[in-house]
Subunit: 162 residues, 2 copies
């Protein structure tokens, strides 16, 4: 239901209103900053974004917004189950909208491209007796088709040189 999945403008706004209603009902105030952050999430061209990335986008809509505000609202959105926070490298955390769909990611070590996969391992996994799973992470790192081609070419050139 976000840009990179459906690309249907109408739905976004519908969803934004839903979100706004949810937030109001839970006692949150609707500030310009929050709206800007939600807007940015709705229009992300890639599934995952860092706080930095989101901040940069939000600044375009609402110049003068502070980084703390972005972080505070990201935390809030995570708390409220609207956004998922995932970390897979030592650097910055990534955030993504939870728009009904649960999915995992193929992450290219070459170009950084992220693709979503529908398969979820939790069903196939024999759960340990007594352990109650709440959440899980599953990310696959490797090389996408284009990068494999590039890499193979590079390796070939390197061998020629040596």
């Amino acid at each position: 239901m976000t840009a990179w999945k459906l690309g249907k403008g109408v739905l976004w706004m519908q969803n934004k209103n839903e979100f706004v209603e949810q937030l109001k009902q839970r006692g949150y105030k609707l500030t310009k900053q929050r709206q800007a952050i939600l807007d940015v999430f709705m229009e992300l061209e890639r599934p995952l974004a860092t706080a930095q990335h989101i901040f940069e986008k939000v600044v375009e809509i609402n110049p003068g917004i502070n980084f703390s505000t972005v972080y505070r609202n990201l935390d809030m959105l995570v708390q409220e189950g609207i956004v998922r926070k995932i970390t897979f490298d030592q650097g910055a955390a990534y955030y993504e909208l939870i728009d009904g769909g649960h999915h995992h990611h193929l992450i290219c070590k070459g170009c950084g491209k992220v693709q979503c996969v529908e398969y979820c391992p939790l069903g196939d996994m024999p759960m340990k007796e007594g352990f109650v799973p709440i959440d899980h992470s599953f990310e696959i790192f490797g090389f996408c088709e284009e990068c494999v081609r590039t890499k193979l070419l590079d390796d070939e050139r390197r061998r020629e040189r040596e």
Copy 2:
């Protein structure tokens, strides 16, 4: 083959020598600091440890060691395929010995206890055409048996109070 898995003292040292040989062969020098770090890894009581945790343990063996040295050697061990680095929360990264076995983790959100699971989802997952997987992460968060009991009791008490 580490303490928390087999608990057989003899094996550790055997393995340490193996490691040391491997490192020497690859052109690394055997410093006191490196030995201390390896020793610490062999004796970890839990599978996952942060750089901070490792540093603290190493200091006991080799006081005066610097944090940079620990980080540099952790990087080296990861590079050489002796240690795996995993990140699942925004804080510090975790390190674990790769002692032949590939496994994933059940991480308790209550007490922080980490249990290893042998199941690996990569085989069951239909891989996207053209993508070449190199590495992956799969961590399950939830509550362990003890914490579930505690949590259930807590919830009960809370309901009684309200």
